[in-house]
Symmetry: C2
Subunit: 356 residues, 2 copies
């Protein structure tokens, strides 16, 4: 933009908004305060061994020139230098689950003086690979990954090279790395058992793409409970490939209008539960068909009936992820750890509706 900028020290004109002014470097600060580059470096980095007088002179020059430290140049020369940046690749930052996770991770990162690069994958494997490449090119100190790919061999070299990486919500496949996940099979079992205990035998399940780990695990939990309970499997009650609330709502509409509708619904993710509730409400069935969701979300308690869910403690997951990541960044090279968090049933009403 401003290839023709004269060197800063020669620029005497008033700075204008239209012609950006060159950014001051340490060299400029050194010149203005009449000391060497190295001394400025010492002051800027708060290193000892600078007399109070010199320090003050330098600091005045820093202020006068609006000097801003260039961390990239700094880190380039620094030995084991960190960039003070981590990357977080989640599924959809606007979803309350990813957003809350990001927030608690951010809190841990801030305590470590580290910034967070955040991005959404939307279940697109190619995007994941491209974004990881970008983060590595930016030399992030660590990586938090809720993978969209089914296997992560593409990460092998980076992991071997020691890039601190923590998988969250989904386990790594094809590589070994730290992870913080929820026991989805167990959670789904609890949810469906709860429905069976209320007397339900026609229980539908709403599930996302079968390529998504958590989705298939929850589906498995559902099937296991039916089998144990001696309820014959009915494939018409299993709806998979649901990508959003609208699709879930449509599925529920179809199910409820069929010859033998379900008396209960297990929704495999919070947005699918919301879609289901919306349709049940529209059909006037909100108080007749039981619903249990996976993932808690704000306002679930304010619905009518209030929504029964399997709650994952998102704040706990996020801080656990952060703790693990920064212990790796600090140099912990012990074998990969798999933290598994148990979801808990929160009974609020919708899951306690009995079959008619």
């Amino acid at each position: 933009m401003s290839e023709t900028d004269r060197p800063l020290s020669g620029d005497q004109g008033l700075p204008t908004a239209t012609r950006p002014v060159a950014r001051a470097t340490m060299k400029d600060v050194a010149a203005l305060s009449g000391v060497s580059l190295k001394t400025v470096s010492r002051v800027v980095n708060r290193e000892p061994g600078v007399s109070a007088g010199v320090r003050e002179r330098v600091e005045r020059a820093v202020t006068r020139l609006d000097y801003s430290h260039n961390v990239h140049a700094s880190n380039l020369r620094r030995s084991g230098g960190r960039t003070g940046t981590i990357g977080a690749l989640l599924q959809d930052i606007s979803n309350s689950f990813s957003a809350s996770l990001l927030r608690s991770l951010e809190d841990v990162a801030r305590a470590e003086d580290t910034a967070v690069l955040a991005a959404s994958l939307d279940e697109e494997p190619d995007r994941e690979i491209a974004l990881v490449r970008g983060l590595v090119a930016r030399r992030v100190d660590g990586l938090v990954l809720m993978p969209a790919t089914s296997r992560q061999e593409y990460l092998a070299a980076e992991l071997r090279a020691g890039l601190p990486t923590v998988f969250v919500d989904r386990l790594p496949h094809g590589v070994d790395a730290d992870s913080v996940t929820v026991d989805n099979v167990l959670g789904a079992r609890h949810a469906v058992e709860h429905l069976v205990r209320q007397g339900h035998r026609r229980i539908a399940v709403l599930s996302d793409l079968s390529t998504i780990q958590t989705a298939t695990e929850r589906l498995r939990g559902y099937r296991e409970v039916l089998q144990v309970a001696g309820i014959p499997a009915d494939s018409t009650l299993e709806v998979a490939g649901l990508r959003n609330p609208e699709a879930a709502g449509e599925a529920v509409r179809r199910l409820c209008r069929s010859a033998s509708p379900p008396t209960a619904i297990f929704a495999g993710r919070n947005d699918l539960a919301i879609g289901a509730v919306r349709t049940l409400r529209a059909l006037g069935l909100a108080h007749r068909v039981a619903v249990v969701g996976f993932d808690d979300f704000p306002l679930a308690d304010l619905l009518d009936p209030a929504l029964t869910v399997m709650r994952q403690n998102v704040a706990q997951i996020g801080s656990e992820v952060g703790r693990l990541l920064f212990s790796r960044i600090a140099g912990d090279t012990s074998p990969p750890r798999r933290v598994i968090i148990e979801p808990t049933l929160v009974a609020r009403g919708s899951g306690e509706i009995r079959p008619t």
Copy 2:
């Protein structure tokens, strides 16, 4: 961590997880493929003027060494080089408003091959200043700011130096910069007029800290309507300084138990509306006291009664912010623009309750 790493070309041992291996540089790639540094640079940057044979040799070496381009070193020497990173400082990334905003900004950024550093300010001015400093030190290409400070003079030098900056949700004070905001006074007026039109004369308002621009603007809109309608101001109906849903709920509890309770409530932000609704529900007043909120949020339509709100089109705000920011990054130096978006009333039920 691994100060003692031998140079990569001499490292013949199998890489182990416990002893991280040095990262390959262009020099290593040049050595392995038998060409000069500059030629590798050409290949990596997809510059023309390299024969197919050489290009392929270099690419093989890149793969074999797991070479990853160091964008920081690259940008250091590059002339008007961008870092391909922007910063977004919002109030609370886990709040649906900030989260959705971040998401739509992210989508614009991705189209521009740019990563987003995101952080929450939680209305803490000091944190804002520290984070901006950090972002500038990282040489972000641009900045999106939902300020926590009341004045932003501290940004003057950066703005003068040409740092592309877009304020969102709140206007800049003490400096001039692009902004995308909602007309809060107008929005609040619409909301309260709606309640007056239903026949309400005892309308309470729930507001955040008076240091927050948007909060005071919405409060002003509320007062203006009462005055025009000839409804005497009653300071007991104005509750400010509410920082979260719990505080809002408490305030509503107090209001409703007073000698002359309100028949309607205007909540100045989505979380305050939620707190209000929760309390009204608990008091059995959800269908007796009218509520209009500011900011729409997921599930507002599923409450009972469904919540009437002033909706800000968050996706529009986010993409507008992104568009503005990247036009500045591309070199647009026209005078600062102030984009003002009008919120719209979404009547769903809670705001149409009439006084008893």
